[in-house]
Structures are given as C-alpha cells and as structure tokens.
C-alpha cells in the first residue's frame, strides 16, 4: 500500500505543530519558575539594592546575551533557507557569546562574594537568580553544541530543521528570562 505524498506532508506538519506546542508548554512552565524567583526578590528585599553592584559588567553581559540571540536567530534562519555555512558560523558565534556571558557571570560572582555574600539578604537572592539562570545558559550551550556537531555531520536541511528550531527557541527563552532578571537585580529602585 503506497502512502500518498500529501498524507506524508500533512503528517509531518501535524508532528511539527505538536513538537512546537510541547516546547512552548515547557517554556511556559519555566516562565512560572522564573516569575516566582523574580517575585521573591521583591517580597524579601523590596526595591533595595546595594550600591556595590558592578553596573558596567551587568550591562555588558546583557548586551552579550542580546547579541547571542541575534546570532541564534540568524543560524535558524540560514538553515531554514538552506544556507548551511551561515547556519554553522552563526551557531558557533552563539556558543562563543554564551560562553562569554558565563565568564561575565563568574566575574560578577567573584565580586559579589566580597560585597554581598550569599548569607546576606540581597546576596542570597542575587546568587540564586544568577545561578539558576547561568545553569539554564549552560544547558542551552550544551544543546547548541550538540546541534552544531550534528550540523557538521550533515544533519538538518531547509525542510528538516526542528532540532535547530527547538534549541534556538530555548536559547531565546534564556534571553527573555535575563531581560527581566537584569533590571530586577541591577536597575530597579
């Protein structure tokens, strides 16, 4: 019994829709998690923040993460249009920028241990929020590296790039979370 090409295409589309819905539901659950973290900052500390926060570093790593979102978007767009070279270059740039962000967070932590250690009110919130976010960045980097390695072996094409799309969407989510965490810790007064 031959399977009609139209039926195959329909099946593929419905599977993609299910994949997307599953990922969005996962991201929604993560949103509630980060929302709880952010609200805990206001509940426990109000709007107070120490003057010793390194504002330049906070702004710098925020820019790095925003830039990594652009390169991730470009990687996804390139593979969706069949540009394999552009996909690999941009994915590599995303991974490099993600690593730079992690280095920035490590520098931030070194200073924070001196000025507001984890056993202080603001310190406990700062380390929890940046630590959990950095863990998400690291897991995103792991997935992006896997996608990069698969891409180098010839996986993914214009018509079949769900792996790239899923990993990149997760990376953007990590960026959205930081967009809210950054002002919550550094800017709000």
């Amino acid at each position: 019994m031959a399977v009609q090409p139209e039926a195959l295409a329909r099946h593929r589309l419905s599977r993609m829709a299910l994949n997307r819905m599953g990922l969005w539901l996962f991201l929604l659950s993560e949103t509630f998690f980060f929302a709880a973290l952010i609200s805990s900052r206001y509940y426990l500390q109000g709007l107070a923040r120490p003057e010793t926060l390194n504002q330049a570093l906070g702004l710098g790593i925020t820019m790095v993460l925003l830039l990594s979102s652009l390169s991730a978007y470009r990687a996804e767009t390139c593979i969706a249009h069949g540009d394999r070279k552009g996909f690999q270059q941009n994915l590599l740039a995303t991974i490099a920028l993600g690593l730079l962000f992690v280095v920035g967070v490590a520098m931030e932590w070194r200073e924070a241990f001196v000025h507001f250690p984890p056993n202080t009110g603001f310190g406990s919130i700062f380390f929890t929020m940046t630590g959990i976010h950095a863990f998400h960045v690291l897991s995103g980097l792991l997935v992006l590296t896997l996608v990069y390695m698969l891409g180098r072996r010839g996986h993914f094409s214009a018509g079949s790039s769900w792996g790239v799309e899923g990993a990149v969407k997760y990376w953007h989510f990590v960026d959205v979370a930081w967009v809210f965490i950054y002002p919550t810790l550094y800017l709000v007064t």
Partner: protein, 68 residues
Amino acid sequence: MQNGRLRSALARGRWVLVALVALTVVEYAVALVMKSGNLPWMIIMNLVDAVLILYYFMHIAQLWRKEE
C-alpha cells in the same frame, strides 16, 4: 528569490537587535536618572523587549498560524 527572502529575514533580525539594545540603554539611563520609583517604567520596557523576542525571534505566531 530564496536569497532575497534570506536577506530580508536577516535584516529584520538586525533591526530587532537594534531595538533591544536601544531599550536596554534607555533602561540603564532611567535607572541612573530616577533614583526611586522606576519600577513601572522598567516593567513596561521589559515587556516590550519580551514581545519583540517572542514575536520576531521565537516566532510565537506559529502557534496559531496555519502552516502551508
């Protein structure tokens, strides 16, 4: 045609980044200028940031748009 679409999509991404960076700089400036009571402004700017990323980078509209 395919290259034209790719170029247009990549250019859109650059504009979104410009908007995100500009908003972040404004947030930073607001925090410097307003020594208290800047929370509502931060929330508004963060929401705009999030909408830009969700719509243009994460393609959230795919959820309700019929694929062809």
